[in-house]
């Protein structure tokens, strides 16, 4: 019998799409205000890396989480400015590359080109906004690893997942139940 030399091969795709499960506690809530209580209690206890699930975006959740404004706006701004610049370059450079006089107007006449510049601003702004959302949400998911989820979160239940080792789990479970969690799962 020959011995196989086993090399630990890296699996980058596996890591990106299926990061290893993160141990923690998941609380399922029926009520919005109970969820808010749980978030407040967790923050008071010094937790910052928990995940809140909700079927719809609620400003109350945003308020108690007190997160910084999403960086997506920078994507929109940069994309929009880039689009405008590309529109200006496209029209002006192409006009001078093969100059044709049309209707006695200057070769590079800016007023009609504003239309193209505007459309390109919107096009690039919108596409980079989409990229911004995808990138940021993907990186957030990457940071969180594979965490517990319940299919009811897209329907009518709210959820709070707190990553924690087995040492802290009991205390967190008590905290979530006290806040009004319907169910608490450890994983």
């Amino acid at each position: 019998m020959t011995t196989h030399l086993r090399l630990p091969l890296p699996k980058p795709l596996q890591e990106i799409f299926h990061p290893p499960p993160t141990p923690g506690v998941l609380g399922i809530f029926q009520y919005l205000d109970a969820t808010l209580d749980a978030i407040k209690k967790l923050r008071a206890a010094g937790h910052t890396d928990f995940t809140v699930y909700s079927p719809i975006p609620r400003h109350e959740i945003e308020d108690v989480l007190d997160q910084p404004v999403s960086p997506v706006r920078m994507f929109t701004l940069v994309g929009g400015i880039a689009g405008c610049a590309i529109g200006a370059w496209l029209t002006l450079w192409m006009s001078y590359d093969w100059p044709i006089q049309v209707g006695g107007k200057p070769i590079g006449s800016v007023p009609p080109y504003v239309v193209i510049m505007f459309e390109m601003t919107v096009l690039f702004g919108a596409l980079s906004t989409i990229l911004g959302i995808l990138f940021n949400a993907a990186f957030a998911a990457r940071r969180g690893g594979t965490i517990q989820y319940d299919p009811r979160f897209t329907n009518d239940r709210f959820g709070v997942f707190v990553p924690a080792g087995s040492d802290k789990a009991a205390r967190l479970e008590a905290l979530l139940r006290e806040a009004g969690a319907e169910e608490v799962h450890r994983g």
Binding site: P55, E62, Q67, I116, L127, G144, F153, T154
Partner: protein, 452 residues
């Protein structure tokens, strides 16, 4: 705010299940509708094959009318598209709660209407295989498109509009696809699992999503106003009397939204009935759509009056002749159809009784669309036919079977996509309808004090 418009007693669970139910097994009626749509599309394809074989002469093109039904249909379908973005983006920025129940249908309609509109310039150019000449690409002749031409602006505007409205529709769909994924079983669970892009409703997802959605809406708002302005400049930049008017951009935008809202009503009435969505899409929603119709219809009526007044007041003989020809020339029937359907009909909507009568609204919405089609026909064909610059060339143009065949095909194409959409994806936004409901709270006393 507008929260009360969707009955607040609905629960989140009820909303999810009611809307997800629309994706159930298709009935015989659905297949009948889809079959008719595909049949109409077939008529269009056969007509197109004839056009390719025998040329555009089949479509009745002759001097001086070289822009006719195809361009009319192009403007008609682009116009239909506009109310979708108005409802999904502009009313979003205005925080109108009532839009949530109707915006998905309107937005899907937008995407499919732009897809339909985009076919017409291609059919109109006759040699579809050269369509890429419009695109600025490096070529052996070293030539570039003429960016001073409104037709090139239009290409950029429609291209951008199609792209942005499609991504906007898909963005809105992601949380709803996730909601359907979590209820579905079998192959549908797999399909929605992939298309939901891993959506879970985690706070990190909502944080970026809501911001991004806001900026998309902010970008789509000026875009929708620009697109029909650019379409109007296809005409207004020319010197044909009846086209050459500074009024055209706002006039076209208002007309576009008017016809689009009409089409939304035409589509929503049967969807609501067939899918039993009466609890979610209420009479209040229809009343609001009717008010939008009344507002934009009044702007259109006002534009008609202004247009005629300016033609007379300008003292310009060509302009006056063009408008006289429009109203009393051989095309008087088209002009008066347009005047009655768009100028007078919306005034019925001042009455609350009409606004809250779904059957009446459905009938009015169909006439709105007929009227708006004729508006484009009158502007395009009648202005060209009665062109007083070349009195020797005046001719009465009449659409031929090829025009009607292509037009029927366009309706088939549009309804085919729309029917496929409503059966495979939630036609009403699940997450946004929930946003206007009172959220479930432990302390009921505080529910009254909540605000949105």
């Amino acid at each position: 705010m507008a929260e009360a418009r969707t009955p607040t007693r609905l629960t989140y669970d009820y909303v999810t299940r009611t809307i997800a139910r629309t994706l159930g097994a298709p009935t015989r009626g659905y297949f009948l509708l889809l079959g008719s749509a595909v049949g109409l599309l077939g008529v269009g394809i056969i007509t197109l094959l004839f056009l390719l074989r025998y040329g555009l002469g089949l479509a009745g093109y002759s001097h001086p009318v070289y822009w006719a039904v195809f361009i009319t249909c192009f403007v008609f379908w682009v116009g239909i598209a506009h109310s979708g973005t108005l409802i999904s983006a502009i009313l979003f920025l205005f925080r109108s709660g009532w839009r949530t129940a109707v915006y998905r249908t309107a937005e899907a309609m937008t995407v499919f209407a732009v897809m339909t509109a985009g076919l017409f310039p291609l059919i109109h150019i006759g040699r579809q295989w050269y369509f890429y000449w419009l695109i600025p690409y490096p070529n052996e002749r070293g030539l570039w498109p003429n960016f001073k031409s409104p037709l090139i602006w239009d290409e950029f505007a429609i291209g951008t509009y199609f792209t942005v409205s499609t991504v906007f529709l898909i963005m809105g769909l992601i949380p709803d696809i996730a909601a359907v994924r979590d209820l579905a079983t079998g192959w549908r669970k797999k399909l929605y699992g992939i298309t939901a892009l891993g959506w879970t409703g985690a706070n990190e997802q909502w944080r970026h999503y809501t911001r991004g959605y806001l900026y998309l809406a902010a970008l789509a708002t000026p875009l929708v106003l620009s697109v029909h302005s650019v379409v109007s400049w296809d005409f207004a930049m020319a010197i044909v009397p009846g086209w050459h008017a500074t009024l055209f951009a706002p006039y076209f935008v208002a007309g576009a939204i008017y016809s689009g809202v009409g089409m939304v009503i035409t589509l929503l009435v049967p969807i609501r009935r067939l899918f039993h969505l009466e609890e979610i899409i209420t009479v209040d929603h229809f009343e609001n759509l009717a008010k939008l119709c009344l507002l934009t219809g009044s702007i259109v009526s006002f534009s008609y009056v202004t247009e005629n007044f300016v033609a007379w007041f300008s003292g310009n003989a060509a302009e006056r002749a063009a408008f006289w020809y429009r109203a009393f020339g051989p095309y008087w029937w088209a002009s008066w159809t347009m005047n009655i359907c768009n100028g007078l009909l919306p005034w019925l909507l001042w009455s609350k009784k009409v606004r809250t009568n779904i059957t009446a609204l459905f009938v009015i919405s169909i006439f709105v669309n007929i009227g708006m089609w004729f508006e484009r026909y009158v502007i395009i064909v009648v202005s060209l036919a009665g062109e007083p610059f070349e009195p020797w060339a005046n001719a009465v143009y009449n659409p031929t079977w090829a025009d009607w065949g292509i037009m029927a095909g366009s309706f088939g194409w549009f309804f085919m996509w729309f029917l496929l959409f409503v059966k495979n994806f939630p036609a009403v936004s699940i997450s946004e309808v929930k946003e206007v409901l009172v959220p479930p709270r432990r302390q009921k006393a505080r529910a009254g004090a909540q605000h949105t």
